[in-house]
């Protein structure tokens, strides 16, 4: 673990990245490969935020239609992730099903998934027997399913370890367990105040996940970022019950069996809590999340839940990503609020890095200016 005072041993870093989640790390990786001197700072360990505690579902068909090109590109990143990082992130391209239980849901499934097919995603529609051929544990509640062979999953617990290894190998300085307390814009760039000292950098990337609003405010800019408190649960190890990832057209189901046999249950059901503290369960949501999961897979009922947990995911009112240059500042960038950001993060990070390097990104960014306002006085943390 580097200390702030030796993070930029040759003076000023080319780029300081606040937040070592999948966004910050993806940007860092590409910039370091391009030869920049990069420092990544995290208040916790690298990959200890949403990127380390999410469901790990890499499902393309459940992503927003407007993000399809990004999701498809991201799948290519994931296919080579372990090789690129030099560490196994347990990526599995298992294929995935998205379910409809009711007639109305079936209609929506057909509309939404046809649109995704037209956007270039390989999708087929399956009736219950065909869906059961892939996922034998499905219940009679299932009327129809869409199947995407590119869907899969990986193990988010390993995000931090794997990116740390890759960033270390590329000479990126990492300062962990050290929150950025203040940021000042100066002539030659930015000064970041940490507990252990100051870090100076010519460019700044704010990638602080659900915490990003506080960092941006330190620069006198406000982004209306809220936080969702996503609930997750995991069972004890079970015999083989599932083959791939399972979702539902409502977006409220995320099921998979990991390599070691545990079943990971999510779906964006909400707990309560404020960013930075451990989230807490909302009883009805906890129960209904499980009820909804057993509707699809009745064989889950006897399995024991060993843990529930919560992670914070940032969003802005239009629920679209905020990725690009921060208005009113020089060479300060933000990358946040990417829904399904674990899947799409590697692609978004790559696109932002390209733009920082002065290249034309292969796909358009998501201009932060659309939601940004100026505040008079920067707000210290």
């Amino acid at each position: 673990m580097a200390r702030a005072t030796d993070a930029a041993p040759h003076g000023t870093a080319d780029v300081a990245i606040v937040g070592g989640g999948i966004m910050g790390c993806s940007v860092a990786l590409r910039l370091a490969e391009a030869g920049m001197r990069v420092v990544v700072i995290d208040r916790g360990g690298i990959g200890g935020g949403a990127s380390g505690v999410n469901a790990g579902t890499l499902s393309l068909q459940i992503k927003r239609l407007s993000l399809m090109p990004y999701a498809i590109r991201a799948a290519e990143h994931w296919a080579e992730m372990s090789a690129r990082l030099g560490a196994d992130v347990k990526f599995r391209q298992s294929g995935g099903l998205n379910l409809a239980f009711t007639e109305a849901e079936e209609a929506q499934l057909v509309t939404d998934m046809t649109a995704r097919r037209e956007a270039g995603l390989p999708i087929s529609f399956l009736d219950l027997p065909a869906a059961r051929a892939r996922e034998p544990g499905l219940s009679d509640h299932v009327r129809r399913a869409s199947f995407c062979p590119l869907d899969g999953y990986s193990n988010p617990s390993l995000t931090g370890r794997a990116f740390r290894k890759a960033l270390t190998a590329r000479g990126v300085a990492m300062i962990e367990h050290d929150p950025v307390l203040g940021i000042e814009a100066g002539d030659g760039g930015y000064t970041l105040r940490l507990q252990s000292g100051n870090v100076r950098a010519r460019r700044l990337v704010l990638a602080a996940g659900a915490w990003t609003r506080a960092s941006v405010l330190q620069l006198g800019v406000d982004l209306p970022i809220g936080a969702r408190v996503n609930q997750m649960m995991v069972t004890e190890r079970a015999p083989a019950l599932m083959n791939g990832v399972l979702g539902h057209i409502s977006g409220l189901m995320s099921l998979k069996q990991s390599d070691n046999g545990t079943i990971i249950i999510g779906g964006g059901w909400q707990g309560e809590g404020a960013v930075g503290e451990p989230g807490r369960p909302v009883m009805d949501n906890l129960t209904n999340n499980l009820r909804f999961a057993t509707l699809a897979m009745p064989a889950l009922a006897p399995l024991r839940i060993v843990r529930t947990w919560y992670g914070y995911d940032g969003f802005v009112p239009d629920f679209l990503p905020v990725v690009g240059v921060l208005p009113w500042l020089r060479e300060a960038y933000v990358i946040a609020c990417v829904r399904g950001g674990y899947t799409i993060g590697p692609c978004m990070g790559d696109l932002l890095a390209a733009s920082i390097l002065g290249e034309e990104p292969a796909l358009p960014l998501f201009d932060p200016a659309r939601v940004a306002t100026r505040v008079n006085t920067p707000v210290p943390a």
Binding site: G44, G251, N260, V306, T308
Partner: protein, 479 residues
């Protein structure tokens, strides 16, 4: 079926601490609900014998204390929910518990936690073999079911439980091949001044020792288990001399015992996860067993309305637990305005001196079970540390080598602590391995406590439900 109960106070745990807390609070006029996952109140040391046990007179003073507690609870207005496992605690307070035949939701403005301890076992090669059992688990078998954990056993580890368990085995008709104690006679003697306050316990301890002598059981001080071996279960145990730090003496004379069980324990660790799941502030106090809640003298935690008593607040032994429970129960009654300050002070007064004396005894015992760095260092790389997830010491050390500095990182990178026990058993060992790297417990942190407090079947949590009546929250935009 979900029973909804409201009360002035919910007490979690019906051992000496929780039982006496409930009685004190009820005696002061509070409406109290007591939850315990056991079949009857009593807790670890005052456990109720199972139905198969007929000769109750032979069960000794702990049994009598337990019977007295159970009788007092029956005679009181305390509502006892035995066989109920508390799995989720919510602020304010709501306790969600599950039983074989349904669920219960308990609500009260005050919550008193008395969850006791979990046993610490420092790993050694073979410690995960069938037939290797904790001293606490063995006691539960002996007391609850009068079952011998093995016909011929080695009892190993540290602290006062060694002789207690060995004596119970002998009384139950089993054979003890040896008692293997990390501590030395001088260490035991150092505790004597503190023990003098409890002549009854000294006498009982001496009685146990005499029994061991009569049976010719070798008592090996400054020894530890080198390894346990066997094909389908433990068949032999090899022990060797250690120094005061628990490090094996180079060239020490190893001895091998053929047995069918090994009972081993290296001390007790407060079960702090319930209090931590509510966000109560904790401190790391090795002399009390590890992470303990920050409390005032009467069991009040950093959260208003949350009280903690007994070994779950720091290991001091059963006598201190019962007294601390009574203190906390009275404090609740006072804080809820049921007894005035004068009565509160008057009733607390006799408890304070007794609890100090009892705690002194408990602390002297705790010194015997301190973690010995030499024993930690001796854990071989291939030994399993986390048995739920099969994580070895080598894997944990590799994570430290790669830069893990907090328990959360270590968990994520290796899966240690992610299984059904949620780190209750491996946590203390991992903390000790971190300490060997110079990482302070405070920086390393305890494992974050999250519900459920015990593994819970999904079917129990969902209950029976009508799929058509399931209401879904609104979806996020899809286009």
């Amino acid at each position: 079926m979900c029973a909804d109960l409201t009360a002035d106070l919910v007490v979690l745990g019906g051992g000496p601490a929780g039982g006496h807390a409930a009685l004190a609070a009820s005696g002061a006029g509070l409406d109290v609900v007591l939850v315990d996952e056991g079949a009857a109140p009593g807790g670890q040391v005052w456990r109720a014998p199972g139905v198969a046990v007929s000769n109750h007179a032979a069960l000794g003073p702990d049994h009598r204390a337990g019977e007295a507690l159970r009788a007092a609870l029956t005679a009181s207005k305390v509502r006892v929910l035995a066989g109920h496992r508390a799995w989720l605690l919510q602020a304010g307070f709501t306790v969600h518990a599950a039983a074989a035949d349904g669920a219960a939701r308990l609500q009260a403005p005050a919550l008193l936690l008395a969850p006791g301890t979990t046993e610490r076992v420092i790993p050694f090669p073979g410690w995960t073999l069938p037939g290797v059992m904790g001293l606490a688990g063995a006691t539960a078998l002996l007391k609850g079911n009068r079952m011998l954990p093995g016909r011929k056993v080695v009892v190993a580890g540290a602290g006062p439980l060694l002789v207690a368990v060995a004596a119970s085995i002998l009384k139950g008709g089993g054979t003890v091949a040896a008692v293997v104690d990390l501590g030395s006679m001088p260490e035991w003697l150092r505790g004597v001044p503190a023990m003098l306050g409890r002549p009854d316990l000294i006498l009982r301890g001496l009685g146990w020792r005499a029994l061991l002598l009569r049976h010719g059981v070798p008592y090996l001080t400054r020894h530890a288990v080198l390894r346990a071996e066997g094909d389908n279960g433990v068949a032999s145990v090899t022990v060797a001399p250690v120094d005061g730090d628990g490090a094996f003496e180079p060239g020490g004379n190893a001895r091998r015992f053929e047995v069918d069980a090994l009972l081993v324990g290296h001390g007790l660790v407060p079960a702090s996860e319930a209090a931590r799941s509510l966000g109560a502030r904790h401190l790391h106090v090795p002399a009390l067993g590890g992470w303990v809640p920050e409390l005032d003298g009467l069991g009040r935690s950093s959260i208003a309305g949350l009280y903690i008593a007994g070994d779950g607040a720091g290991v001091r032994g059963a006598a201190a637990a019962a007294l601390a429970g009574a203190q906390a129960g009275l404090a609740v009654a006072h804080d809820l305005g049921r007894i005035d300050a004068a009565r509160h002070t008057a009733e607390q007064a006799p408890l304070a001196a007794r609890v100090a004396r009892a705690a002194r005894f408990g602390r002297a015992m705790a010194a015997l079970v301190r973690i010995r760095p030499g024993l930690i260092a001796a854990i071989p790389p291939e030994a399993t540390i986390c048995r739920c997830e099969d994580v070895t010491r080598a894997e944990i050390e590799a994570a430290f080598d790669e830069g893990a500095r907090q328990i959360g990182q270590l968990k994520a990178w290796t899966r240690c602590g992610m299984g059904p026990c949620q780190g209750r058993f491996c946590g203390p060992t991992i903390e000790a391995l971190a300490a060997q790297r110079g990482i302070a417990a405070e920086a390393f942190g305890p494992m974050v406590a999250r519900p459920p407090l015990r593994p819970m079947p999904i079917g129990t949590l969902t209950g029976d439900f009508d799929p058509a009546a399931l209401t879904l929250p609104p979806s996020l935009p899809s286009s």
